[in-house]
């Protein structure tokens, strides 16, 4: 793990406006994540962890504050800048896997590579090693509907890593898996972090899952708090 922060957040606020109702999802978050860290963020529903995740990943803009990801000021860029961030610097693993259902696992990976502007064929050796580590090298020509939940999440992880992102953002990656597959996915994430020094930011409800990270942050009412709520 490096001391240099790959994610730096200062005074981050986010307000959602629904008609005349304003909901303050983040109320001033400060955060530093060193490169190579596996950080778990835990908190109850509505604590703001998903909003923080979405802002760091460039899925939504902040209302105020500064977010710097891999030396890019995400808070200062527009929609196209956030699109570029998603294309080049961050990748997502979601609770619902979010694979393209009409494509095979291989084509899901190739689509991510194509969008990132990387060669789509053949896969390079480091990525083939990742596929071996994930245990899905033999399942690439199957569509998501032909794969188990655990396999689908591994394909999602493979797709996320194919573009060699600076940061892997995992949103409840075990939320839709049974305990055996949950454990396998968490072990894979820890392995990837240890072997490849992949920076991982994982949000979860689950304390056991959070324990796989180097550090656990707790969120409540839109703030990072010192102790679990």
């Amino acid at each position: 793990m490096s001391d240099a922060a790959i994610i730096r957040v200062r005074g981050l606020r986010k307000v959602y406006e629904t008609g005349k109702v304003y909901v303050e999802a983040l109320r001033g978050v400060d955060l530093d994540v060193p490169a190579g860290e596996f950080l778990s963020i835990v908190g109850p529903s509505g604590s703001g962890k998903s909003t923080l995740f979405h802002i760091i990943g460039g899925l939504t803009p902040p209302s105020a504050g500064e977010v710097v990801v891999a030396d890019r000021n995400v808070s200062a860029v527009g929609d196209s800048g956030r699109t570029e961030l998603r294309r080049k610097l961050v990748s997502f693993v979601f609770q619902k896997f979010n694979l393209l259902p009409n494509l095979t696992a291989r084509d899901n990976v190739r689509t991510a590579l194509y969008i990132a502007g990387r060669p789509t064929d053949p896969f390079d050796t480091p990525f083939l090693n990742i596929l071996d580590l994930l245990g899905i090298a033999g399942r690439l020509d199957h569509k998501p509907s032909e794969l188990s939940g655990g396999e689908q999440q591994r394909v999602a992880i493979a797709r996320a890593l194919a573009t060699k992102p600076a940061i892997l953002l995992a949103d409840e990656p075990t939320g839709n898996l049974d305990s055996r597959n949950s454990l396998a996915v968490l072990n894979i994430l820890r392995d990837l972090n240890e072997r490849l020094h992949q920076t991982i930011l994982m949000i979860t409800h689950n304390a056991e899952a959070a324990a796989f990270g180097h550090r656990i942050l707790h969120m409540s009412d839109g703030r990072i708090v010192d102790t679990p709520v």
Partner: protein, 366 residues
């Protein structure tokens, strides 16, 4: 990769894809069928006129060639008068009268002079016009009315004896004696036009020039003129009709494709969210949707062309005389342009909605 994405999208929902292609195809068929019917009618009329074998056609004073398909405002005294002109070897006057149905007409002929000019009819059944209530039908009309020689049919509120069935391609689908039709339509001594045969086709320009000078105000057409006059543009009613139908076809095609693409975008909200989470730009997502629309438009064009052969078979079976439908390959590119253009335009709005979608909301879409 884009091709693969589009292809897999189209393949993934086969029912929606087939329905979209069919709906677009129906618009294409509608356009090709209506253009084909117009062309078939014009081509049929042209061929039948050419089939008479005349070199010149003499029309009533101040009449445009295709201004009327019916009526007989020309005195039949011109028939003998024209027969005496230099280089003229035969003339025959014809009365043309519209009958029930939009484009059907009956021709009154003087059988002897008509055959002298045009040559004999090719009989498939029966014989020529002998009695006042005899009628000759060409094969198309006989098939359409399911009649044979010896049977009776009603035309112009008159009961006729089908004297014979002849090969099509000569002047009209129905023939009766000139005098009988003149009396029936209160045009005794009048004809609709006079056909003129010359001793040598090389004299056409010369004779036409002389007749133009002598019979000022009476339009005289050569067969070459007829070829150029027989087009939709020279029949204002048909042109408006064709334009209106095309307009409706394009508009309804646009709406159908628009609805189809709107549904497609709704169904794929989550997938669009996934693409955006992978860093796909607005242009990329829009490109995928437009490529898919183009593929559906192209598929619809092919389906429409194939279906237009079906409608032709249907028309030619049910109403070969009244509604002859031509296959119009020169309209296929236009049909493709309309279908693909409609598909692209129709998918623009849902496409714009798709690319503007918030990726978080899109990913949460169930």
């Amino acid at each position: 990769m884009v091709f693969r994405l589009v292809w897999e999208n189209v393949r993934f929902r086969p029912v929606r894809t087939l329905l979209s292609i069919l709906l677009i195809g129906l618009q294409v068929t509608l356009i090709l069928t209506l253009v084909g019917l117009t062309r078939g009618f014009i081509d049929g009329s042209e061929k039948r006129n050419e089939g008479v074998g005349a070199d010149l056609i003499f029309r009533p004073k101040d009449s445009a060639f295709l201004s009327s398909f019916s009526g007989s405002p020309l005195s039949e005294k011109f028939i003998d008068q024209l027969a005496k002109e230099p280089h003229v070897v035969a003339t025959t006057g014809v009365v043309t009268q519209l009958i029930g149905g939009a484009f059907d007409s009956i021709s009154g002929i003087d059988q002897a002079s008509f055959i002298h000019l045009s040559g004999p009819f090719m009989f498939l059944e029966g014989h020529g016009l002998e009695k006042p209530d005899d009628i000759l039908l060409d094969r198309y009309y006989a098939d359409q009315r399911h009649v044979h020689a010896g049977q009776r049919i009603g035309v112009l509120k008159h009961d006729w004896n089908v004297a014979g069935i002849v090969e099509p391609g000569k002047l009209a689908h129905l023939f009766v004696q000139l005098k009988v039709l003149q009396d029936l339509v209160n045009s005794t001594g009048k004809v609709s036009q006079i056909y003129i045969k010359l001793d040598d086709p090389r004299n056409i320009d010369l004779v036409k020039k002389e007749l133009d000078a002598k019979y000022e105000g009476y339009p005289i057409y050569s067969m070459k003129d007829i070829e150029s006059y027989y087009s939709v543009d020279n029949i204002p009613l048909l042109k408006y009709f064709t334009d209106a139908v095309l307009g409706i076809g394009v508009l309804s095609g646009f709406l159908v494709v628009g609805m189809s693409m709107y549904m497609a975008v709704l169904q794929r909200t989550r997938e669009i969210g996934i693409l955006k989470s992978l860093g796909a730009s607005k242009a990329f997502v829009m490109g995928i949707l437009l490529a898919e629309a183009s593929a559906l438009g192209l598929g619809g064009t092919v389906a429409g062309i194939v279906l237009s052969f079906g409608t032709r078979a249907l028309m030619n079976t049910l109403m070969p005389a009244s509604l002859p439908q031509a296959i119009v390959p020169d309209w296929w590119p236009w049909a493709a342009l309309i279908a693909i253009g409609g598909a692209l335009l129709g998918s623009l709005y849902p496409g714009m909605l798709a690319v503007r979608q918030d990726p978080i909301e899109a990913l949460a879409y169930e």
